[in-house]
Symmetry: C2
Amino acid sequence: MAISEAEAVVMDVLWGKAPRTAEEILAEVGPAQNWQEGTVKSLLNRLLRKNAVHAERDGRRYLYTPLLLREQYVQQESKGLLDRLFGGRVAPLVAHFSEQRKLSKKDIAELRKLLKELDDEQP
Amino acid sequence: MAISEAEAVVMDVLWGKAPRTAEEILAEVGPAQNWQEGTVKSLLNRLLRKNAVHAERDGRRYLYTPLLLREQYVQQESKGLLDRLFGGRVAPLVAHFSEQRKLSKKDIAELRKLLKELDDEQP
DNA sequence: CGTAACCATTTACGCGTGTAAACATAATTT
DNA sequence: AAATTATGTTTACACGCGTAAATGGTTACG
């Protein structure tokens, strides 16, 4: 089953550094998110049930490690959006942002570089 | 309030051609989606409540027209994903697909053309 | 040892969603 | 006019989500 947005916030912490305790996760995410302890615990339990994280006992507490990889998650999410909105193709997405003037100088420079690299790979 | 995925399917029909009756929408979307009549009606009502469509009486039925524009919706959705997963920037998204080898020849060609056009615009 | 502190697990609750069945009402057909 | 059809509106219901309170079980401290 897919992980929800709130759950993804917790995953993000674990992707940043793992393993972590619930307390550490709360410390990193609680203030910004305005979450209580119970909220983080619930999310962790749901992630456990979804096999997105693994918990290992460490004394009286648990250490949580991500099982779902960030790459996998990003892949699913982006592919979903691409399929739903752009016929599964990347160029129309970029065109969309281009039309909205949402491409920064930096984006454009990086895209150029990327295309050049693709050239070099496949001579 | 944001429109849901099922609601977006209905919007898609209306974006394709409007105005439309509920029956026409069902005809276009029912088979693929395995939806009954009631389902489409419910979704239309929720879209009405969210001010995403407008309904105009036409004899005994209604003609539905989109109020929310496809552009707006696509913008919201893509920006959301970009912000959540790629720090709000387009290039990393493209890089991601590039790494996953999900860029088609056609994509690459189109991206090239797009970048060239950007060049020409801003000489 | 009894009790407080610390963690985790269970339970809760309102809300949106997906999916319709029921119901209401006006128009058409018999 | 009665029955049927067409169409929209209301109600339903299970499920996931966001958010947390309540409960339960250990360890630590007085």
